[in-house]
Symmetry: C2
Subunit: 390 residues, 2 copies
């Protein structure tokens, strides 16, 4: 269940020396026959986006949506590295594409790690031929690639879905949301179905909106977030737009859930569902403010059903808001109705709040628009993990 699960893809992963620990830090995923597959990508909208993001976007534009594979390094984001960073990214894929025997623009590139540090490009150039030589199509080859893209992840995120004669496989790292997003999230999806690049791009955008973009760990948007899908057509089967979107959405939601469970310093996964807002924008703004609220995260960590912080965050954000119409529930426990506290089964609620999954539902009573986000609590481990980069 990884990127090598669908027919016709090979992968490799090894340590190139970018990470001084010697841990795996370089991965390659390419079509087995080295022919370009249909390819679509969704990239961070951060204006400080990294060199590899700019280069991959540019290559995908040049090829009009085709690519043979992607080179990924962890341990260095190659962001805020200026013109030199762009040259390093270009040199990296030129070397690997040369070793693969494919045109440079058919290779995409992703990086993840610290921002503002020159990429040790020699590590990649010197390891390229070994990386290409180690390409293989076994499950282990896929796992090696998935392991090589991890940074603060505690486990590799992989998935496989096989249905109606087509197979989809994927790997990802990070705990994030593309907009906004934590640290870097990267996802590479492979599939043997047939799709043209317009269909694939449209379906991927919708899938990302319904998955990674509904996950928030800390409201920070990365310079490097990238989601790529490669469809090589080897199953000789195509799907209609709706079925393709559903399949990609299921894949991305599976990866997003794995990311939430592995979020830095989190002890609980929570959902916030804002219902009955006047506009979709208002529903999303409210949900996002709650999901990114430090105080709400603290309450969840303490298993404290203090809904006052939720109503305060909503009132500070939403345009169409009448406190007298608000009701709030934790799971099945309604704690606020008509904007005031209601009697609740205290022991049942206390037990519910101790769980590892908390579902918060808010009814706004102003209209018919809804929004949902998945987020996490915050513990001291988050601070300890992020207080020093070296």
């Amino acid at each position: 269940m990884t990127v090598t699960s669908p027919k016709g893809f090979s992968a490799a992963g090894l340590g190139s020396g970018i990470k001084i620990t010697g841990a795996p830090d370089l991965a390659l995923v390419v079509t087995e026959n080295r022919l370009p597959a249909t390819c679509a990508g969704v990239f961070t909208p951060n204006k400080a986006c990294a060199a590899p993001v700019r280069l991959s976007k540019s290559n995908l534009e040049k090829t009009k949506g085709y690519a043979t594979g992607v080179l990924i390094n962890s341990g260095n984001a190659n962001a805020a590295t200026g013109q030199l960073g762009l040259e390093h990214a270009t040199q990296s894929i030129a070397q690997v594409a040369g070793d693969l025997g494919i045109p440079t623009e058919q290779l995409l590139v992703c990086s993840t790690g610290l921002i503002g540090i020159t990429l040790p490009v020699e590590a990649i150039l010197n390891t390229s031929s070994k990386l290409v030589a180690e390409l293989g199509s076994s499950e282990d080859d896929g796992h090696r690639a998935a392991n090589a893209i991890m940074t603060t992840d505690t486990f590799a995120k992989e998935v496989e879905i096989a249905r109606d004669g087509v197979t989809i496989g994927a790997m990802a790292k990070g705990a994030a949301m593309l907009e906004p997003a934590l640290a870097t999230m990267l996802a590479v999806i492979t599939t043997d179905l047939q799709a043209d690049s317009t269909q694939l791009q449209g379906a991927l955008r919708l899938a990302v909106n319904e998955s990674f973009n509904q996950l928030s760990v800390d409201g920070a948007m990365s310079t490097n977030d990238t989601v790529l899908v490669f469809a090589n057509g080897q199953s000789n089967k195509a799907l209609n737009d709706e079925a393709l979107t559903d399949l990609l959405t299921e894949t991305c939601c599976n990866l997003a859930n794995q990311m939430a469970k592995d979020a830095e310093g989190a002890t609980k996964v929570a959902t916030i569902s804002v219902k009955g807002a006047k506009t979709r924008f208002d529903a999303l703004s409210g949900a996002r403010k709650v999901a990114n609220s430090l105080l709400v995260k603290c309450s969840l960590f303490g298993a404290d059903p203090y809904w006052g912080r939720i109503i305060s965050e909503l009132g500070s954000t939403m345009s169409d808001f009448d406190i007298d119409k608000i009701s709030i529930s934790y799971g099945d426990y309604c704690v606020c109705s008509g904007g005031i506290a209601v009697a609740v089964d205290d022991e049942g609620l206390r037990n519910y709040m101790q769980g590892s999954q908390i579902d918060i539902s808010v009814e706004i009573g102003m209209g018919y628009e809804n929004a949902n986000l998945t987020f996490t609590d915050i513990s001291c481990a988050y601070i300890e993990e992020n207080m020093r980069t070296s």
Copy 2:
């Protein structure tokens, strides 16, 4: 140096039983002669604002900017308490105004504490006559009032400025920004200068914008934030608009700095100065995103000069942004120029980052608009303080 420092104000503070610990929780500040003073107020824009906020705004509108004093309780926010909360606030000031012998609408009211819990109004009603009997104009009376409005504060915030024959005094609680704001911040300013309500309101709004609104602890906006100023005219001196604004700004900045130093779980006070943005809105958006960034706060706590998080937050927020034009400094240490790392005196920078005050300056290079915010780092103590309310 407190609310009783200017001529003609008296104050009291005691424990009414709202806080079950018996700690001081009820304060009263009124003119000594019980005649209304010119009064101006700035209130939270939170749409879930508390009953006392609604009642005080309504009273100030009725009197067209005059009030004799303000009743403040800590230990309960009287927010998300519905119609009953409004009745409780009304009953409280009716009782105290009766004991003072003044019309009810001449008394304002503030509350601070937990949201969504019915105000134990009997505690206030039963203590009213004692509170009025204890009113006095000594410094100790002022201190007692300042102590009674604290919640998680570790010290009372008070200030006095005497200049050109006029005196201004103030007390405050909280660690906050009116928009957005942490927990509740309340400030009561008294002065013996002469001002009409239009002049006073205009000057207070400007002063709040330059002080409390440039302080952010966690980006959460409270349901109860209130800043009030009472000018009783007893010095027989007036100031022009600019001088009045300057005096109120100096007072509010002093209180805001005390709040920052007492911010929950903070070990450092930081400033972010965004210079050369294309629009004021862009400058403020960028500064606010940096100030409220969990990752930036974590780096500060760890004394880590990791500017990658600053450039990433700016790139994710600002409309007019070109990474190649960005430079970033910590104090006098420039760490990024032209969007890339620059060589720096490592030991000097390391020492600087260990300090308790960190000044971050960013040059955007797109225009002439600037914005400054004061904020804090985050430590585990913040999470521990906020994880449980009971």
